[in-house]
Amino acid sequence: MEYDFENMRQLMGEFIPHMAAMGLELLSMDDDGAVGKIPYRDEFVGNPDTGVVHGGVVTVLLDSLSGMCIVPLLGGMAKTATLDLRIDYLKPAVPGEDIFAKVHCYRTTKNIAFTRGVAYQGDIDDPIAHAAGSFMLTRS
């Protein structure tokens, strides 16, 4: 169960170019799941008439945290490859507000990890999107 949260947070924020470019932040990570956020920025808008952020931004956040939340369960020793990720868009994001997400791994088998999580703004019980992912594991 050895992993270093501070290390992971820095990795996401500084060394992964796309996460750094989006300002994606890892806020917490434990057996309960990974929590992170993407700040609202005008350049992330998908509909210029409404100011609503593009679904792709939500996908980047949920994809990132889905991959991350597996790491503590494996002692940081495995390689993971995403098999698939399904996103349900439950309602439009409120313009001007940051987007948060929490994803957890609810099952691992010898070869596969299954994840689910939500993206939300104020209230985690009133999410803007739901994600379900599966990942191939390569144990070292």
Binding site: I16, H18, D42, P48, D49, H54, T59, L62
Partner: protein
């Protein structure tokens, strides 16, 4: 620019680029769209900031998802009698192989156009079109 202006400009010129330019997120990613014969191809020119795994290096999976969502949307708009922005309901992205540090291409096929909902399949490749690196299926509200 308003979305309607992007649509109007795209319809007038037959060029989709004004529509792409009207969407800030597409502009930020550097996404382009081109008509090639009967197909609409969405292009994501490579940039260092698209990398999600600097060790391999490989594109960020979320960017791949965004590209496929965009290609599905563009292909659906292209198939509409009266073009407007469809609202996405959900998308399932299949990751087939890592996205290399190269330009990406994607297109979509409207597998079913209903009155309220459209089903779209999207495919993404780099270099060899027969070697897809990701695919997706998506549902959109169209009314």
């Amino acid at each position: 620019m308003k979305l309607a202006d992007g649509f109007a400009a795209a319809r007038q010129s037959g060029d989709l680029q004004p529509l792409m330019e009207a969407v800030p997120y597409f502009r930020w990613l550097g996404l382009k769209a081109e008509r090639q014969g009967a197909e609409l191809i969405t292009i994501l020119p490579f940039q260092q900031m698209l990398i999600g795994n600097p060790m391999l290096p490989a594109l960020h999976g979320g960017v791949t998802g965004a590209l496929l969502e965009c290609a599905a949307t563009i292909s659906l708009i292209g198939a509409m009698d009266e073009p407007k922005l469809p609202r996405i309901i959900n998308i399932t992205v299949e990751y087939l192989r890592p996205g290399r540090a190269e330009d990406c291409f994607a297109t979509g096929i409207v597998t079913k156009q209903g009155r309220r909902v459209a089903n779209v399949r999207a495919m993404a490749w780099q270099g060899d079109r027969k070697r897809l690196f990701a695919a997706a299926s998506a549902h959109f509200m169209v009314n």
